[in-house]
């Protein structure tokens, strides 16, 4: 274990800065620039985790986001731990503490490993076929299944980290910083376009940047040096923004893209303090260039999942970029030329390459020749049939392939190794392309799905290997040519570029490699994380699952945290082979966003905690806070709920407030009511159409209550509207309805009645509303506005006066929601707090008592006034509310009128608003409680429910409002409110409980 597999030749890792980290409690060292994976490999650690289903030992298989196996838990702090982090992506930092997941007690000895031996009994979909007996026992099985599934552990405490958002608009977004991405960014910037280049790595250059090979030259210098110069040259463009450690998460329609920038995950814990952890970029790009590259495919053979079996290109990156040997006795298994590049790199680094097993019969490309010249041994036309080694590969066995590739022939020969590189060709990363709505086509010659240029959404292009271009000359030349037309470039800085590169000629692909054993006896893994095998796919097909989506769901192939980046193509290939279908016809599964898993925190950004939702406050809010108010959330508003005094509970406070309001005076902040200023020569006609009652004859200076319906005849909103002038009204709406009412009214004005000369302007925040009610309200108003004639003659109920308080204009309305003599002062909001304070001072001698929404609700219930949204629920007509008087029957039309005359809306037995009194006057009903007539009936018929219920201190008894079937006709009838533990007897009454004659209005 303590072996050091680092070599000292590379340019990419800062070998002067040693970093200590922990893996499974063991203290280890790596260097700055390492990923956790490269550092583990340098310490000769391959076994990283256990698989999902069979708990098989698994190691590092790749070097990127496609990694299915090496996923670890980072940290152990309850609020900062991160589950399911890919060791291949996380950069090493001082103090990093990683541990294996999905194993107990340890990754070396995992009890769950027993599943491996049970695997014959656990084929795809086994759980659909069993765990059904005895009936009702599923939850017990499920408990164990759930606990053995799952990967890492979620944090158990709140996340202290900060996430942020940023919108960005650019001319061109380039996704991917490999060679084609770099060239694209440069061409775009050169043209003067605002360009953003993003790449998920900490460095630019993709795989070309460490391609130190004489066979690859651009303009006569090695391709890596050429690219390094290009990257350097990007610094000259002020119109180019480069974002490293930024991965594209989603590509939505209209070129809206989400990219996550990682800002602190590579820093030590101390360096992270006060910094934003991740920033989600919301990018609108006029044009998008996808240069997301390709990933290497594995090969599918029995036991292809052991630690030490690594993608060949990843072995190359580990040695060439990180300077880490993934083994000391490495063999390679391939179906294409790229493994030879790995072989050459290993050879040059002094690592023994035992054999290269190649399923092809031969290849005469330059790179193969170079390898052969170096003395690398190749087994042509052969395949690996099995591997050995439990926690690390020890050996593998090779057989000759038959001519047609369907079988193996001859004997097994065994080769020892401590690492096997596999290369099954390349898969273009077309995820983003398809997410954006692009359609793929299948290229038979090398079995790849590539973007169909005829079915590419406009204003985007795919370049480089994600477009199916794998050879350096193709990549470079096609990128230039394609961008010329995409960006309308006439000539470019790359014109006349010269490229030398080897050309792969020989191709052979076998999705499931044959074995001398029946498939039932082999374990050819497809999806390494989810433990689905080629056998599972074949079983699914035998059972009649034929769509790729069915097979995927039945076998769970491609549903792991890598989303099938390594497994999808082979699953498709095996389905195509087994069913005799062309892969192009089969199609792919849908690639769903995000491309790589995206932190919830990043998606939410700063809208957490205090910024979860906007808070609206009235101009008098601070006074309420200072005076001990408890607040109620009403929509986004904070409204005082009640004002407890001296340790009162809510009930006590409300009883006191309610009593004071009727006995002397109460004051309410009603500023949250919606207020709409209505002007225009057709204002009256407009009101006629939107309210159920008539408005034309309302005198200037008077107010009227209005009821607004939906077009389906149901009560929608209500409020008092005041006529300020011939063509000028101010409408009030409910607090919750304000925005919707305005938008509904604008809708009718603009679309149905454009001929009306009416203008609507919201003034909800312009005016604050202070409501003073009670027998002493008049005395208080007299003190506040000394000159104003408050006599009933001059200032009757349902009228208003314009006046001044000190130097400030205000409008005082005499309207009442409590049944008391009351006034509403409307004043510009910036003066409202001071007016409120003046009212309090003036009212001191009258025990003027501030009250909140709860008391307001109680007082209006005593009078039987409805609250839309509480006593109505969108299913009640005005008639249901016993408000027939408000329907202007003579009016030609108003919103919702026609609906009132449908067969079901005219029924007499609809639910109707009534009052309720309890037999026991102390018994307060629960709001929402149901009403029945016969408790013994089965099924029991519910006649209605309690909508509002309070203990009235003014009547000294419990009162309630309810909606009851045929309620209008049932006055005096006894009903039962059946509660869980008792039945409450109630009697149906009138809806008005207090001051039925409305004497107090003018008291």
């Amino acid at each position: 274990m303590s072996k050091n597999l680092r070599i000292n030749k590379n340019n990419f890792i800062d070998q002067t800065t040693r970093i200590s980290f922990k893996f499974n409690g063991q203290k280890l060292f790596g260097y700055k620039g390492d990923t956790l994976a490269s550092a583990l490999l340098a310490n000769n650690i391959h076994l990283v985790g256990r698989s999902f289903k069979y708990h098989r030992p698994r190691g590092i298989m790749t070097c990127g986001s496609e990694e299915p196996n090496a996923i670890v838990q980072i940290g152990n702090d309850a609020s900062l731990t991160d589950p399911n982090v890919r060791a291949t992506e996380i950069e090493l930092y001082e103090g990093l503490d990683a541990s294996s997941q999905n194993c107990w007690p340890s990754v070396n000895f995992d009890i769950g490993g027993i599943n491996n031996f049970l695997s014959p009994f656990l084929p795809a979909g086994f759980y659909y076929k069993t765990f059904m007996w005895p009936a009702g026992f599923w939850e017990k099985y499920e408990y164990f299944i759930r606990h053995s599934a799952g990967l890492g552990k979620a944090p158990t405490r709140s996340d202290p980290d900060i996430y942020d958002h940023q919108y960005s608009h650019c001319d061109v977004l380039v996704v991917g910083g490999g060679i084609s991405g770099i060239m694209s960014a440069k061409l775009s910037a050169e043209k003067g376009l605002d360009t953003i280049l993003i790449d998920d790595k900490s460095f630019l250059g993709g795989s070309t940047i460490y391609q130190e090979n004489e066979s690859y030259k651009i303009n006569n210098i090695n391709s890596n040096k050429w690219l390094a110069n290009e990257i350097e040259s990007l610094k000259n463009y002020s119109n180019l923004v480069i974002k490293n450690r930024t991965s594209l998460a989603a590509f939505h329609g209209y070129n809206y893209l989400l990219a996550r920038e990682n800002l602190t995950d590579h820093l030590s814990i101390n360096e992270r303090k006060g910094k934003v952890r991740q920033r989600l970029w919301k990018i609108r790009a006029k044009k998008v260039i996808i240069a997301s590259g390709s990933i290497e495919r594995p090969l599918i053979f029995s036991n292809n999942d052991r630690p030490g079996i690594i993608l060949s290109s990843s072995i190359k990156k580990y040695i060439d970029y990180y300077g880490v040997k993934t083994g000391e006795n490495i063999s390679l298994f391939t179906n294409n030329d790229s493994a030879y590049e790995t072989g050459i790199s290993l050879y040059k680094s002094g690592v023994k390459v035992n054999v290269i097993v190649d399923i092809r019969k031969n290849s005469d490309s330059l790179i193969v020749k170079e390898a052969l010249e170096l003395g690398l041994k190749v087994l042509w036309g052969s395949t690996v049939v099995d591997t050995q080694g439990y926690k690390r590969i020890k050996s593998f066995e090779v057989m000759k392939l038959s001519d047609d590739g369907n079988n193996v022939v001859g004997d097994r020969s065994k080769y020892n190794c401590d690492c096997l590189g596999i290369s099954g060709g390349w898969t273009p990363m077309v995820h983003l392309f398809t997410q954006s709505g692009g359609k793929l086509k299948f290229r038979n010659e090398d079995n790849v799905f590539i973007p169909d240029e005829n079915k590419t959404p406009s204003n985007q292009i795919s370049v480089g290997s994600c477009n199916g271009e794998f050879k350096l000359n193709e990549i470079v030349i096609n990128t230039i040519e394609n961008l010329k037309s995409f960006l309308s470039l006439s000539n470019t800085c790359y014109d006349g570029i010269k490229i030398i590169c080897p050309n792969e000629k020989s191709k052979r692909n076998i999705w499931l490699l044959p074995s001398d054993k029946p498939i039932g006896k082999t374990k050819p893994f497809l999806d390494f994380q989810n433990d689905s095998t080629a056998k599972d796919v074949k079983l699914a097909l035998r059972e009649g699952f034929k769509s790729i989506e069915h097979v995927k769901r039945y076998t769970t192939t491609g549903m792991g945290t890598d989303q099938g980046k390594l497994s999808n193509m082979h699953a498709l290939g095996i389905i195509a082979d087994t069913t005799g279908t062309n892969m192009g016809e089969l199609g792919t599964t849908t690639f769903r966003p995000p491309y790589t898993p995206l932190t919830f925190g990043a998606i939410v950004g700063r809208n957490v905690g205090e910024f979860f939702d906007q808070t609206r406050k009235t101009a008098i809010h601070n006074w309420h806070v200072k005076n001990n108010a408890e607040f109620e959330n009403v929509g986004q508003w904070k409204r005082p709920w009640y004002f407890p005094k001296d340790g009162e509970n809510m009930h006590q406070a409300v009883q006191r407030e309610s009593k004071a309001a009727r006995d002397s005076a109460g004051i309410l902040d009603a500023s949250t009511l919606g207020k709409i200023d209505i002007q225009g020569t057709d204002a009256s006609e407009f009101l006629n159409r939107v309210y159920t009652n008539a408005w034309s004859k309302l005198e200037i200076g008077r107010c009227r209550y209005g009821l607004m319906l939906n077009e389906d005849g149901m009560v929608y909103d209500d409020g008092v509207t005041t006529r300020l002038g011939e063509n000028h009204y101010i409408m009030t709406t409910t607090t919750g309805g304000a925005a919707n009412v305005l938008s509904k009214l604008e809708d009718y004005l603009q679309t149905e009645w454009p001929e009306l000369d009416v203008y609507l302007t919201t003034v909800t925040d312009q005016y604050s509303t202070i409501s003073i009610c009670g027998p002493n309200s008049k005395n208080i108003i007299t003190k506040i506005v000394p000159g104003l004639d408050l006599s009933d003659n001059n200032f009757p109920h349902m009228s208003f006066k314009n006046t001044k308080i000190s130097n400030v204009n205000c409008r005082i309305m005499r309207i009442s929601f409590t049944g008391e003599h009351s006034y509403e002062i409307n004043i510009q909001s910036n003066y409202a707090e001071d007016v409120w304070i003046k009212c309090m001072e003036a009212g001191k001698e009258f025990n003027l008592t501030p009250y909140g929404t709860e008391t307001m609700h109680l007082l209006r219930a005593e009078k039987g006034f409805i609250i839309t949204g509480q006593d109505t629920d969108g299913t009640l007509t005005p008639s249901d509310l016993q408000m027939d008087w408000i329907i202007g029957k003579k009016k030609f039309d108003f919103i919702g009128k026609r609906s009132l005359y449908r067969s079901d809306t005219i029924r007499e037995d609809r639910k109707q608003l009534v009052g309720l009194l309890t037999e026991d006057p102390k018994e307060v009903l629960e709001e929402g409680a149901q009403l029945v007539e016969n408790i013994n009936e089965k099924p029991i018929e519910m006649l209605g429910h309690v909508t509002s219920s309070y203990f009235s201190p003014n009547l000294n008894k419990s009162i309630a409002l309810a909606v009851v079937k045929s309620g209008k006709k049932l006055k005096g009838k006894k009903l039962i409110v059946p509660m869980e533990n008792k039945n409450i007897n109630v009697i149906i009454t009138d809806t008005v409980f207090y001051d039925k004659e409305n004497k107090r209005l003018n008291a």
Binding site: H252, G253, Y254, Y256, R284, G437, E711, D712, S743, E746, D747, Q750, T751, E752, P754, D893, K897, R898, S899, Y901, R902, S903
Partner: protein, 91 residues
């Protein structure tokens, strides 16, 4: 997230708008003369087209103007926008 070309304000993000459903369903001029069936047709029945749909949008967080849009609901491509009262562009 669409980009919607408000006929009054120009191109804006979808978040500034709200959708009001199918367009050109004119409110009956004389509702009382309609049968319950005809009224229900106006009130509830919708084409709900997969393909080219004419619909109403409101620039709710901008100029507050309602306007019409032609959009292909099978791919969300906006083909045209036009003001209230204007004739729909020939498709």
């Amino acid at each position: 997230m669409f980009i919607i070309n408000c006929p009054y304000c120009g191109e804006r993000d979808q978040t500034e708008f709200s959708c009001g459903g199918e367009a050109h369903i004119e409110r009956p001029k004389q509702p009382t003369e309609l049968s319950d069936d005809q009224w229900a047709e106006y009130l509830f029945m919708r084409k709900n087209i997969k393909g080219i749909q004419f619909e109403r949008w409101n620039h709710a967080h901008g100029c507050r103007k309602w306007f019409n849009m032609v959009r292909d609901t099978s791919n969300d491509k906006i083909q045209a926008v036009y003001k209230m009262g204007e004739k729909p562009p020939v498709k």
